[in-house]
Symmetry: C2
Subunit: 333 residues, 2 copies
């Protein structure tokens, strides 16, 4: 018996915003698991903005996908055939590089076991995974907001931003959130507890910040870069801290240009600290415990936007980059 899987390959390097034609679904053969290997059927695929970087020409910390190769990405799946004692059939596992496909065969050692008792298994792709750890790294690892401080979060309705808003609130800060629609704003100031909302598509962000934070921002979680970062540099209070989270920004060069007003940092003793989740993986256990405690205390709303079926993956990715999701974007197979 020979098996195959459907998988999504990179058909063309996206020019600017990705199009569905940049992706192609094809069948690929699956080997039988060898000694120490498992066959995994994916249940949930993670949709992340950083994947856009790996589709571009230039290398990055995530590597570059060769044209015609299957695209990488996180996924949670179930072991359906096993020749590895550590991961019997029926185990749940997370992979960082075997998303965008229905099934795959790898050595068990390449996978992270997922305990379904911790919470719904897809949480390991969001709150308990890359996006949650990214939010924790920016808010707790970098910004460390104190009670009463004013914290700004942009792209606040996204997977990272929505957790960052809630972590800053949990720390006792006043939170100003920005996103791109009134509907997202209502959600941010409602369910997520943000104190104020700025619609960056409809409002002048700099003018609104001057109005609602006249003493300046103590801390800012920047998911955007580019012109947004310049606005933040001007809006920071003395000794303000900015966390640079490059998730969405790089594909259109936002963090490449560099802020034209960096001198404002010198005048105000402002820090800009870049970070990514990789620097916090070693603290994942502690971070997940904290998230679980916050959720139990009713201080953390877990938001997921779910599309269905492998064919929906390219569209979900395009929607994500266009800001048409809320919280963590997932594809359920």
């Amino acid at each position: 018996m020979s098996r195959t899987t459907r998988q999504i390959v990179l058909a063309a390097r996206p020019q600017g915003v990705p199009q569905t034609a940049d992706f192609r679904i094809e069948d690929a053969p699956l080997a039988e698991p060898g000694e120490g290997e498992v066959l995994v059927r994916n249940l949930w695929l993670s949709v992340d903005p950083y994947m856009r970087i790996a589709m571009g020409e230039e290398g990055s910390l995530h590597g570059t996908v060769p044209l015609g190769d299957p695209i990488s990405g996180g996924a949670v799946g179930e072991v359906i055939a096993s020749r590895a004692e550590a991961l019997p059939k029926g185990s749940f596992v997370m992979s960082r590089a075997h998303g965008w496909r229905e099934a795959y065969v790898v050595p068990a050692a390449d996978l992270v076991p997922v305990d379904p008792a911790t919470g719904p298994v897809q949480r390991h792709l969001g709150l308990y995974g890359l996006t949650g750890i990214t939010a924790w790294g920016g808010v707790r690892g970098v910004l460390d907001p104190q009670p009463g401080e004013t914290v700004f979060v942009n792209a606040a309705a996204g997977a990272v931003g929505s957790v960052a808003v809630q972590l800053a609130k949990a720390a006792g800060a006043r939170v100003i959130a920005s996103a791109g629609s009134a509907e997202k704003g209502a959600w941010l100031t409602g369910a997520l507890g943000a104190d104020q909302f700025i619609d960056y598509r409809e409002e002048d962000v700099a003018a609104r910040l001057a109005e609602i934070a006249p003493s300046g921002l103590d801390a800012a979680f920047d998911n955007v870069g580019g012109n947004q970062l310049e606005i933040l540099l001007d809006a920071m209070a003395p000794r303000g801290r900015i966390a640079l989270c490059g998730a969405i920004a790089r594909y259109d060069g936002a963090y490449r240009a560099g802020p034209a007003n960096l001198f404002a940092a010198i005048e105000k003793h402002v820090s800009l600290t870049g970070f990514n989740a990789g620097f916090y993986f070693d603290r994942a256990g502690e971070i997940i415990s904290e998230f679980a405690a916050l959720e139990r205390a009713g201080k953390l709303v877990v938001a997921e936007t779910v599309a269905h079926g492998l064919d929906a993956m390219p569209g979900a990715f395009i929607d994500l980059l266009a800001g048409r999701s809320r919280g963590k974007m997932l594809v359920k197979l």
Copy 2:
């Protein structure tokens, strides 16, 4: 009896590198001191790169000098006539805005008394003043180097840089210093104790850093900005810290352009923290005590380059910006 003073006014806004024709020496009347005022004869004038900013079109934290007005700057002088009990004739005083002239009359409350017992009075313009406090702010306030860490300092033979090198060494770090001549290099690795020297005019700084700090820089004190900052971003170790000291860089727009590789900070969890001495003035007493203790322990070489007479001031300023000084640049009247 009516008195006058010779003073230097801004004759033209410098285009790029200042020229002597941008300055004019003229006589100005001096009022007799009124109640609470003192007449001060300057003894030492401070020559600082930040003054270049105030000569440009654009405002800054130091303000802009109107064309034809006397130029501002630090100075130490002696009270030669007093109608203020707090500052009798013979007192030494420091002013932040009455340099570039031979004498002036101001309210005593505008001046900082200088105790000649602390050290030579001109120290308050350098080590005990703006440049020393700037170096302390960058090294101790921002970078906080730990024993065994690798710290880079550029413009290392300058007033700020030469103190920064020695503070980093005193903290137990390995120090890589860069400057623009072999003579400065010999001084930096000799008297000042730097471990390695890079001649930025003769060598490829990026290549040399890769060679002598293959694991990356833990901390960097950037006096330069622009392309130098881009080289540093690439050369930093994971979780590296960069202190942005804008003293020399801004006049040619170095910190305006912003680094094109800011994304490197995100990939490596690198921080860039701007600062200026103003954020550390409230700790001046503690800082000066620390400098005095280091000097007594033979761990701090105080370097001064001295020109003589008010007429030498524009040339000293031009020499400073051109890198033709070592340590603190002063004019002795």
